[in-house]
Amino acid sequence: MVQAVLVMLAVAFIAFTMFNFVGDPVAIMAGQDLPAEQRVELRKTLGLDDPTPVRFARFVANAAQGQFGLSYRTTEPVGRMILDRLPATLELSLIAVLVALVIGIPMGVFSGLYPHHWISRAMMTVSLIGISLPTFLIGILLILIFAVMLGWLPSFGRGDTVKIGFWTTGFLTVSGWKAIILPSITLGLFQMTLIMRLVRSEMLEVLRTDYIKFARARGLTNRAVHFGHALKNTLVPVITITGLQLGSIIAFAIITETVFSWPGVGLLFLQSVQAVDIPVMAAYLVLIGLLFVLINLIVDVLYFVVDPRLRSQGAKAGAK
């Protein structure tokens, strides 16, 4: 927990420095022809002349409430802009991770159980391609095949969305589902191959352990040995990697969102970089930092659920 707070403070500090050293906000906001005394006035009202620690404290306090000021580009509140775009990115990332897990784990299990089967060899070769092709190329290829040539799926946007509270979801419309297929595959493909290879190598490792040998020696069925005993033991590293990857999926959604004009925070970030829209960039940075920290916490909790050894250690540590 302490670590999580420290990480967030560090991220906030970087975002804060960006604010202060990349361009003069007054110059950017006020334009060239503002008289000098009014500039001084503006600096005061904005609190820009306060000592750095004070300003940093203020930045953190505001950020904690989701306030990052106004966008230089659109003059909308940055918090609102991000919040509007966040559902698109989270839905895309979620589907991408599901695609990666639902396809990657069974493929990994199969190729771990039957490493010499031709299907396993084929999957390993294909996964090598998945790992080495850059994301944008995969996206463009998919668009070329399924949107341009076959015309089955849309090549950009989210389709129709439905608003539930502040959350706009594409999960309730057919066009929303159609629109998310290509981007989520593009975004999830790399993770899918990663998870497949991870599950495969963990599976091969676990199948060599004494407890698997002993499980076989007790006459347990292959199903019990493979899926009850072996698979569960491969899950600990899979959870770690999936958690870490979920963070990077959200972060790397920038590329996929750009290729598919997906209206998420990644696309927003890219537009903001082009416009040197510092508040939005800073807010995005803080948001990504926050997501990473949250995901790490969830991963830690999942460990406890899966691995009883950690559970008892945790109970001891918690009692202190």
Binding site: T209, D210, Y211, K213, F214, A215, R216, A217, R218, G219, L220, T221, N222, A224, G228, H229, K232, N233, V306, D307, P308, R309, S312
Partner: protein, 326 residues
Amino acid sequence: MTSPKLLEVRNLRVEFPTRRGTLVAVDDVSLDIAAGEVLGVVGESGAGKSMTGAAIIGLLEPPGRIAAGEIRLEGRRIDNLPYNEMRKIRGRQIGAIFQDPLTSLNPLYKVGDQLIETILTHLPLTQAQARDRAVKLLEDVGIPSASERINHYPHQFSGGMRQRVVIALALAAEPKLIIADEPTTALDVSIQAQIITLLKRLCREHGTAVMLVTHDMGVIAETADRVAVMYAGRIAEIGPVQDVIKRPHHPYTIGLMGAIPTMTHKVERLTQIDGSMPRLNAIPKGCAFNPRCPKAFDRCYRDRPDPMPAGNSLAACWLVEEKAHV
């Protein structure tokens, strides 16, 4: 022989095909185990003891394979059964206990669940009956407050206690034979004797036969009915334990017995004979023991001896034949 044979191994050969040729890990091994009998198996590391055990229970790891010979359980051939048929024999007819109790149990499951799973795989019981049986098994292997401990995970047990759990698991479906491959080597010296005593008692009570692989001649002397001495993948000598210990015929066994200290300091390794066992790819022509044998003569470098009758035992040594002819 008066008692019917539970297990018969005939001319077993286990090979490992490798890029540099085929390694023969077990060569022409024949042995019997009667119901309820304890057969001790001794020999230096790499002699082929574990591979013999793995072949019997059908768990040789590829590329290792049975290249020749046959294995019969109560007269039924089991070395060529389909996987699922052999699986039903494992645990139910033939159980196994391995060397390291710390790694034999799945860390993610409660010991009770591992017991119940094993019981339900082989016996037609309900979940509740299986649970009662699991508690009873843990009590039998001397785990205090078994009905609570059943809900504990392996890491919550000490090494000795874990090996007791492993024994309970091996006995869960009342197999007729247990292959115990160095069941105490990984344990603290102070608890080795307890575990052996427990194993001996349980197997006597249940009438279970045991193939007990060990380095410890003291354990063999106290526990085994018969003993097989292995060397370089073959049987050097096999016979009733008192004969092999008091009247060994094979020079290798004689060397081993010289290496047994008195009963008071037991934990001797079998390494006191000069030299070491040849590697599998460099087994000498003739008798595999000839480079280390103090009594080797010309024939030993020419022909390989098969086990031949020597008193109540069988010994694979040309000296036996010489003596018989003299």
